[in-house]
Amino acid sequence: MSAVASREIPLRESALLQPRPKRRSWTRLILPTYTAIVIVYLMVPIFVMIIFGFNNTHGRFNLVWQGFTLSWYQNLFAIPDLTTSLINSLVIGVSATAVSTVLGTMIALALDRYAFPGKSALNLTLFLNIAAPEIVMGATLLALFIQLQIPQGLLTIFLAHVMFIMAYVTVTVRARLAGFDRSLEEAAQDLGAPPLITFRKVTLPLIFPGIMAGALLAFALSIDDFVTTYFVAGSVNTFPLWVYGATREGVPPQVNVMGTLIFAGGVLLALLNVAYQRRAAKLQ
């Protein structure tokens, strides 16, 4: 009886913030410590990559620490094939991202705004596209190119990349459209704005963060893709393909440096994006 009473009396306002009763202090440290360990584990290969970009190595293999040097940063473009592969990756990343962002956003608009015959088939295709193993997409695409006798190279890599990153843009933009207030568009149309003006002045600015997020995701997927690219690249190298090919003869420190710079650039972009969104949210 008393137990029941003691449970009823306090309005559990404070319990909402701390739903669990207090435990002995050391048990409360288990999960935070564990989380920290897992995060360090995730970081270990990144630290190794960054540190060995400064290694003053002389042989083909960059395996033992031999002192600090900046020479790999100074001679970043000393390996022409590696530089070419990085440029290929960037060219394909930018072009495939641009095309897939436009096409993916259009599909997202169609799926969000309309009920139409074929919609569920389109939904299923997008799901299969995301769920399909990459090696199957690469292998089947190569089978198509061989059958049609299309030579493999930059063009086939571009076609493949747009194919597998578009669905991610659609999913991201659609999530943004789901929280969209349609009355804003109706208001614009009531004020006499034609559909295209409504889209450009009202819809596009509102879904732009979703499009941006989708484009960034698409670019990240494209520039790091290995498996699909490996099948459809022919003799052309992208950055991940070149690095994979170099594992047998030893990976030069320039790879660590490029990896480090891509990492730093990506982190910087992501942080800028967060800061920009925070500021936009404050202004609203």
């Binding site: 909402l16 669990r20 999960l31 935070p32 564990y34 897992v38 995060i39 584990y41 995730l42 970081m43 270990v44 290969p45 190794v48 060995f52 395996l63 096409l103 993916g104 259009m106 599909i107 705004r113 309309y114 009920a115 139409f116 015959p117 919609k119 088939a121 389109l122 299923l124 295709t125 799901f127 995301i130 769920a131 399909a132 193993p133 990459e134 199957v136 997409m137 292998a139 089947t140 089978a143 198509l144 061989i146 059958q147 076609l159 194919m163 578009m166 790091d224 290995f226 490996y230 950055f239 991940p240 690095v243 594992t247 660590n256 990896g259 891509i262 990506g266 982190v267 992501a270 967060v274």
Partner: protein
């Protein structure tokens, strides 16, 4: 897409009826055509090639040659099984490692939640291949981990981690961990903390609250994580080729060799089709067991 246009759709009102009914097709046509030509048609072409007979020198011709499938299964059956085992082991490991962390971030992360999420995402800013090579370097026979232990005679001189099943599974686990952690975090984060209070008010202890409230509500996240981890892990060949050895070859390595080195297109096609079908059946079975009928909902995460 190709279906005839219907003009009697309920969502369409008044005079805009006709133009609006074309709009979704105009919007989705370019993207859908791209997916049709470069995603669905290749699957059909591959199914077609998988039934071809002949060899590389006389040329391959279509002949309903189902023996490619029986030959694929008899030659590479054990490797298929091994790939599924590695994929399942890595998926289970990512689940066990990431659940407590996702739980802590979702319920105890406070205002630093986004910082922890950002840290979880950091590996994605480094190339997948470079990360795997980093592990090869860390785990190498005289490397930074095994070297000192051997020097102290804590390990025998011929002890090695690379070229074992463990190395491949560990590599897969590392590479796909964030794909498991993030969806679980999203599912846990959505749980209303008042539900936990309610469970406590109804005399559930911590373990019961966890097993009967938290875990069931996180199942959509586990499902999404399973899909995002199991499928790529099972079909991966990068980890097996960089961290593994001859005894830890996976089906991805076989497809790659048959396609790009041996140019045995019918065999490689049959293997690809089998892999695709096996993984799809696995995913659908899993969805049924967990009761997640809306499989497409996963894509929303």
């Amino acid at each position: 897409m190709e279906q005839p246009l219907r003009t009697d759709l309920p969502v369409i009102a008044g005079s805009r009826r006709r133009r609006r009914s074309i709009a979704p097709y105009l919007l989705s046509l370019p993207g859908a055509a791209w997916l049709l030509i470069f995603f669905l048609v290749p699957m059909a072409v591959t199914a077609f090639i998988s039934l071809e007979g002949g060899d590389l020198f006389t040329g391959f011709t279509f002949s309903w040659n189902f023996s490619n499938y029986s030959q694929a299964l008899s030659s590479y059956g054990p490797i298929f099984i091994r790939s599924l085992e590695y994929g399942l082991a890595a998926t289970a490991a990512t689940l066990v490692i990431s659940y407590p962390m996702a739980y802590w971030i979702a319920f105890r992360g406070g205002r630093y939640k986004s910082v922890f999420l950002f840290l979880l995402l950091l590996p994605f800013f480094v190339s997948f291949v470079i990360r795997t090579i980093s592990w090869q370097f860390i785990l190498s026979d005289q490397g930074m981990v095994l070297g000192p232990l051997k020097e102290l005679h804590l390990l025998p001189q011929d002890y090695h981690v690379l070229a074992t099943s463990f190395a491949v599974i560990a590599g897969l686990t590392y590479n796909f961990l964030p794909f498991m952690a993030l969806p679980i975090y999203v599912a846990l984060e959505r749980i209303d903390p008042r539900l936990l209070s309610a469970a406590h008010d109804l005399y559930a202890n911590n373990v019961q609250t966890f097993l009967r409230v938290v875990v069931p509500l996180s199942i959509p996240g586990i499902f999404a994580g399973f899909l995002l981890t199991f499928v790529p892990a099972t079909s991966d060949f990068v980890n097996a080729s960089i961290l593994g050895g001859v005894s830890s070859t996976m089906i991805g390595n076989v497809i790659q060799t048959e396609f790009l080195t041996n140019n045995d297109y019918p065999m490689a096609s049959a293997l690809s089709i089998i892999l695709m079908v096996v993984l799809l059946i696995g995913v659908l079975l899993y969805a049924r067991v967990l009761g997640t009928s809306d499989v497409t909902g996963v894509a929303e995460l």
